[in-house]
Symmetry: C2
Subunit: 370 residues, 2 copies
C-alpha cells in the first residue's frame, strides 16, 4: 500500500515517488499545512490547481475542534474536508510542547490545558495514535517530545523518552492503510542525533521525521544536523524535515537528502502581507507598491500573479479585504510548490546543484541567514 521509489539522485538530492492509499506524492515535496481541516484561506479545488499533493492536518487542533471522533463519524479527515489526496497528520506533540506554561510532562505522556477554554487534557503515545487513526491520514507521526535544541543534558533525557514513546506508538498502531513515521530527535548534537537515528531505525518505520529543528537554533547548526541525519537514516525511506518552509531551507534540505517538508510559513506570511518572489520576500503593504502594475512576482503562473497587480493586492491588504489574504496565500503556497517542482526536474536532469546555486544567488540576502 506504501512504497518509496527513488527515480534519480544527484549527489545527496533525491527525486522519488511516495505511493500512498490516496495517490502518489512526487518528492521532494512541500506540504501545505491545514491546521484546522483547511489550508488557511484556500479551498481544496485551489490546492489542486496549485499542484498540492499531500497536505497536513494538526492532531492537537483537530482533537480539540471538531474532535477526532466527530471526524471519524464523518468518514475521516479526507472525507470531512473533501481532500481526496494524501494527508499527513502530526502527533500533536509539537503543539502541546509549544504550550510551555500550560503543560506537564511525565514518562507516560503529557497533561495540558486547552488554549481555547483552559480545560485539561492528556496526550499519550497511545492516545495520539488513536486520534490519528480516527482522523485517518495516509501518514501519521509518532508522538515525540520536542525539546529545546541546544540543551544537551535535557536532550539526553528527552530523547530516551521519545524512543520509548516511538515503541509504544508502533505497538498501538493498528491501521494498515496508514504509514507510521518515526521521529528522530537529539537537538543540534551529533552524538545524540546518531544515537536517536539508530534507536528509531531499529523500529523499522516506513519513513522518518527529523524533529526539533527550525525552532531557534542557528542556520549552520540546522544544516549540520540535517547532514548527520542524511548519513544516519536509511536511503530507501522518505525523510521528512518537519516544520521547515523557508525557500532557502527547502533547497538546502533537498541538497542534504531530505524529501518532505511542511510549514505554516507561506499562509502565515500571506496574512502578514509578505510575499515570496524569485528575488526575495517583499511586503505587499509597502507604499512602494501603491501604483505598481506588475504582478506580485513577475513570471509567476499562479492566479494572483496572472490576474492582478501589486497595486490592487496592496489595496486589498490595506483595506483588510479577505480577497487579499486569499490571493497572497495562493501565491505563497504556489511559490513553494512550484519551487519543489523545479527542484525535482533539476534533480532528474542532473542539474540541481547548478539550479540551487543560481536560485539562491537570485533570492539574495534573505537566504541562508533568514
Amino acid at each position: 500500500m506504501f512504497s518509496f521509489d527513488i527515480h534519480h539522485t544527484e549527489r545527496r538530492s533525491r527525486a522519488a515517488v511516495f505511493h500512498t492509499p490516496h495517490g502518489d506524492v512526487l518528492t521532494p515535496v512541500f506540504m501545505p499545512v491545514g491546521t484546522q481541516a483547511t489550508v488557511k484561506a484556500i479551498a481544496p479545488r485551489d490546492l489542486t490547481e496549485l499542484g498540492a499533493t499531500m497536505i497536513l492536518g494538526n492532531t492537537y487542533h483537530l482533537y480539540l475542534r471538531p474532535g477526532d471522533e466527530l471526524v471519524a463519524r464523518r468518514g475521516g479527515l479526507h472525507q470531512f474536508m473533501r481532500w481526496n489526496n494524501p494527508i499527513l497528520t502530526d502527533s500533536g506533540g509539537f503543539q502541546v510542547f509549544s504550550l510551555s506554561e500550560m503543560r506537564k510532562i511525565d514518562d507516560q505522556g503529557v497533561t495540558f490545558k486547552s488554549h481555547l477554554d483552559g480545560s485539561m487534557h492528556r496526550l499519550t503515545p497511545e492516545k495520539s495514535i488513536k486520534i490519528q487513526e480516527n482522523l485517518g491520514a495516509d501518514v501519521i507521526m509518532c508522538f515525540d517530545e520536542c525539546p529545546p535544541p541546544t540543551d544537551h543534558e535535557y536532550n539526553v533525557i528527552s530523547m530516551a523518552r521519545t524512543h520509548a514513546w516511538a515503541e509504544r506508538c508502533k505497538a498501538a498502531h493498528t491501521r494498515t492503510d496508514q504509514a507510521l513515521f518515526g521521529i528522530v530527535q537529539g537537538g543540534v548534537f551529533r552524538d545524540l542525533r546518531e544515537e536517536s537515528a539508530r534507536a528509531i531505525n531499529a523500529l523499522d518505520f516506513l519513513g522518518h521525521g527529523i524533529g526539533g529543528l527550525a525552532v531557534g537554533e542557528s542556520k549552520e547548526a540546522m544544516l549540520a544536523t540535517i547532514e548527520w541525519m542524511d548519513a544516519s537514516l536509511p536511503e530507501h525511506k522518505p525523510r521528512y524535515l518537519m516544520g521547515v518552509g523557508e525557500p532557502t531551507d527547502l533547497i538546502n534540505g533537498v541538497a542534504r537528502g531530505m524529501d518532505m517538508f511542511d510549514c505554516v510559513l507561506p499562509t502565515r506570511l500571506a496574512r502578514h502581507g509578505a510575499a515570496f518572489t524569485h528575488t526575495g520576500r517583499i511586503n505587499m503593504r509597502n507604499k512602494a507598491f501603491e501604483e505598481d502594475d506588475q504582478p506580485i512576482d513577475p513570471g509567476c503562473a499562479c492566479y494572483a500573479c496572472t490576474t492582478f497587480t501589486r497595486a490592487y493586492i496592496r489595496h486589498l491588504l490595506h483595506v483588510e479585504e479577505i480577497l487579499g489574504l486569499y490571493l497572497m496565500s495562493l501565491h505563497n503556497v504556489h511559490f513553494l510548490i512550484q519551487l519543489m517542482g523545479e527542484i525535482r526536474q533539476a534533480i532528474l536532469a542532473d542539474r540541481f546543484e547548478t539550479f540551487a546555486t543560481g536560485w539562491l544567488a537570485r533570492y539574495g540576502g534573505t537566504g541562508t541567514t533568514a
Copy 2:
C-alpha cells in the same frame, strides 16, 4: 452604446436585456456589491462561475481608499479589480448620509468626516460625477439625499434638493460610455413619489434608481411605494430598486416591475453565519448542524453545496477559518443569482406568478415580513 430591450412581460414583471459597454445584463438581475473593489471574499473568477454579470462599486469607499484618481491611473475600476463585465457605482450619497453625526448637508452638497481617520471631505453632485467618471463604471448614479422615509415634511425639502442635484449631475456628466441613472426619492408618500418621478423623468436619464427604501419602513409601505414607482416610471427604461436583496423582496420587486437589485445582504449574512436555503434562512453556526452531512441547501449547484457538508462548514465557521466565510459567501450570492435566473425563465414562459407563489410559500415565514 446602451439599450434596454424588453423580451417579454408577464403582468408587471419584465424579462429584458440591458446592453452596456462591458457586455449584456439579463434582467431581472441581482448585482453583488463590491464595496472596496472586491465582492467580499469572492474572486472575479468565482463571480463569473456564479453567473454574476453586473456588480457594484461604492463611490464613498473607493474615493477614500485607494482614491478614484489612483483607480483612474490604473485604467479604471474594471481594469483595477479585473472585472471585465458591467459595473455600476453608487453616488456616495447613501454612505455619506449614513454617517449621521459626521456630516452636514447644504444645498450645494455634503461635508463629512471620514469614518477612517476623521479627515474632512466634501461631496457635491459635480464631485460625485467626477469620482464616478474616474472609476469608470458602465452605470453611474446621480448624487441624491437619502432621507428618513416616513418624515413627509423633510422629504418635501430633501426631494427638491435631490431634483436640483440630478440636474447638476446631468450637466456635469461628460463620459458617453457611461449611463447616468436618475434616482427617485419621496419616502413612503405617494404624492411625493409621483412628483419625484415626474421631475426625474423630465431629465431623460437612461435608467432610474428607486432610492430611500429598505431603510426601516414597513414591508407594506415599501411594496406600495414600488407599485407607485412602477406606474410612474417609463416602461422602456431599466428600474433599479436600490439596496434590496432579501429573496422575498426580489420576487415582490420583480412582480412590481423592477429590473435591477443590489444588496450587501448575501455577503454580510455569510460573515454572520447565515445561509439562504429554499426553505428559509438557517444559521450555519447552529449546533444542530454539527453532524449534518447534507449540503447547506440540498439541490443547490454552487461549489460549497456540491462539495461540502453542513458539518464541515459549521466547523469552519466555529473555528473562524476564512474558508468558511468564502464558502458561505459563494453560496449566498449564488442563491440570489440563481433565483433571478429562475425568475427570468419563469417570466419568459409566462409562469412567473405561479413560480413566485410556490417559491414564497416554500421559503416560509421569513418572507414578506422579514
